[in-house]
Symmetry: C2
Subunit: 293 residues, 2 copies
C-alpha cells in the first residue's frame, strides 16, 4: 500500500475515536475537526515517519502509521490555531476557508485542542505500551517548550528571539519528531536520526520562505507574503532568491549525507526526492499561474 | 505527605519538563503556563484521583500523582481557553487577571495548548508503560468528543444541545476521569468507579450552578452570574435555590452510596466531606462579603 494511503487510513482510524454510536457529538466541532484533517495537505511529515521506519527495517509498520498520523494531527492543530485572528488571521487554508472562518473562532480553538488530545491518544492506543511511551515523549518534545512548534509560535510574542532557535522550533521541530519517531517505531535509536531530521527541518523552513515570496495563493492554497507582512525573518529577504535556492539544494544534499547507517537508505532518499519535486512543482505552477493571471 | 502537597509537587515536576538548561524558553509563554497552573486552584480533581487510589490500596502512589497532575493540567488548560474573548471573555480567574488579560490572546492560546501536551506527556513518562497507555485513554475520554470537556464547550456553539449530555461533558467528565484514573493507577478496575464518578461530576455541576448564582467574585475568584449572562442552563434557575441545595446534598449522598467494594472507602469519603465543606465555606464567605460590601 502506498504511504499516502496508509497515512489517510491511519488518520481516519484516529478520527473514528471521536465517534460513539450512542452518544451524539456537537456537529460544528465534528465537522471542523474532520475538515482540518481531511481537506488536503501534503502529509509530508507522516510520509517522512513511514520512510524512516522503512529505512530502519519497518518492524512495526502499524506503529509508524499511528505515530505518523499523530504528527499530522498535531500539525493540523497548529494550522488551525495559527490561522486564528489573534495570530495570522488567515482567511484561507488549502484553498478553502480557514476553520475559524467556516465555523467560528470558539470551534476553531476547540478543534485544535481536540486534535492535540487525539494525537497523543492514538499513540497510546497503538498496542505497544513501551514504544508508545517513548513515542509520546518524542512527539511532545517537538510540540512544547522549549524546542517545539508551540515555543516557535510563542517567540513571535517576544520583543526579540534567538533567530536560529525560533526557526528550528517553528518548523524544524515537527519534522525532527516525525523522523525520530519513524526510527523509534521500527525499534532503531531515534538519536541517530536527529542530524538528518534537523537538516530536513532546516530545508523545509527555507522552502517555506521561498514559497512565501515566490509562489501564489492559488498554488499553495494559503496566503503568501506573510513573512513580509508580519515582519518575520525570511531566507529570500535575507540572502536573495538565487542564494536561497542554492541554500535549499545544499541543505537537502546535507540531509542526504546525514542519513545514519540503516537497513536501506532508499525509502528516505525517495522521500527527499519527492519533497524536492513538490517544491519545484509548486513554484512552476506559481509562475504559470502568474503568466495566465 | 498530604494530598495537596503531593499534587503541587507533581505539578512542579511536570512543569520542569518545559525547561532545558541550554535552551532558552520564550518568557511570556513560560510565565503564562506557570501562572495558569500555580496561581491557586482547589486541586479538587487530582485530590480525587489520590483519594480513589488510596481507597483502592494505593499500590502505585507515584502513578496516581502523575495522573492527578495530568488531570489538573488539562483542567487549567480548559480554564485558560474558556476565559478567552471568543468564549467567556473573563477578565479575572482565581482573583487575578486571566491569562489572556495578563499576557495577550496569542500566548493564552499557546499556554492552553502547551498544558494539554504536557498532561499526556507526564503520564507517558510515569515509568509504567502499560498503565500509562490505559490512563491516557481514560484522560482522553474525559477531554475530547463525544463525552469530554471539549465537546461540552462545543455544545455551546450549537443551536440546541441535549441538556444532560451537555452538563455531563462540560464538567462531570473530568471528575469521572480523575476518579477512574485513580482506580486504574492502583491497578483496580476503573469501570467499577464510573457510577460514583458520574454522581460526583453531577454534584460538582450543581455546586457550580449554586456558586454562580449565590456567591461573589471575591469568594470564588472569578466572575459570577455567567450562566444568566450567557443563557446557559443553571440548576438554581431551573429548580429554585432551596431545591438546588437539596439536590446537591442528595447527589453527594448518592455518590457515597455508589462507592464500589474497595480496600477502604475512608479516603474517598474524606474527599467528599472536604468538597462539601468547601462549597459551604465559599457560600458562607460570599454572604459575609455581601454584608460587608
Amino acid at each position: 500500500m502506498n504511504p499516502v494511503t496508509r497515512v489517510e487510513r491511519a488518520l481516519r482510524r484516529a478520527l473514528s475515536l471521536l465517534e460513539e454510536e450512542d452518544v451524539p457529538s456537537p456537529t460544528l466541532l465534528r465537522k471542523a475537526v474532520r475538515d482540518a484533517v481531511l481537506q488536503g495537505g501534503g502529509r509530508l511529515r507522516p510520509a517522512l515517519t513511514l520512510a524512516v521506519s522503512a529505512s530502519c527495517g519497518d518492524t512495526r509498520p502499524w506503529l509508524a502509521e499511528d505515530f505518523g498520523a499523530a504528527v499530522e494531527l498535531v500539525h493540523c492543530a497548529s494550522l488551525v490555531h495559527d490561522d486564528l485572528p489573534c495570530f495570522d488571521d488567515a482567511a484561507m487554508r488549502r484553498g478553502l476557508p480557514s476553520i475559524h472562518r467556516a465555523y467560528g473562532e470558539p470551534i476553531a480553538v476547540l478543534a485544535g485542542d481536540e486534535l492535540i488530545v487525539l494525537a497523543f491518544e492514538v499513540i497510546a492506543r497503538s498496542g505497544e505500551p513501551r514504544a508508545a511511551a517513548q513515542l509520546i515523549s518524542i512527539l511532545a518534545r517537538g510540540v512544547r517548550s522549549p524546542r517545539g512548534i508551540i515555543a516557535g509560535q510563542a517567540w513571535e510574542s517576544e520583543t526579540s528571539a534567538p533567530p536560529e532557535l525560533y526557526r528550528r522550533a517553528k518548523t524544524a521541530s515537527l519534522f525532527e519528531a516525525a523522523a525520530c519517531g519513524g526510527a523509534a517505531a521500527a525499534g532503531a535509536d531515534p538519536r541517530s536520526w536527529r542530524a538528518f531530521a534537523t537538516k530536513i527541518g532546516d530545508a523545509y523552513q527555507i522552502a517555506d520562505d521561498i514559497l512565501d515570496v515566490q509562489s501564489t495563493p492559488w498554488a499553495v492554497g494559503k496566503p503568501v507574503g506573510q513573512d513580509d507582512l508580519l515582519g518575520r525573518p525570511n531566507a529570500v529577504k535575507q540572502h536573495g532568491a538565487e542564494e536561497a535556492h542554492a541554500l535549499l539544494r545544499a541543505t537537502l544534499q546535507d540531509a542526504l549525507s546525514s542519513i545514519p547507517p540503516c537497513e536501506s537508505p532508499a525509502p528516505v532518499e525517495a522521500w527527499v526526492e519527492r519533497v524536492s519535486w513538490r517544491i519545484e512543482e509548486t513554484l512552476r505552477l506559481s509562475v504559470e499561474h502568474r503568466k495566465v493571471g
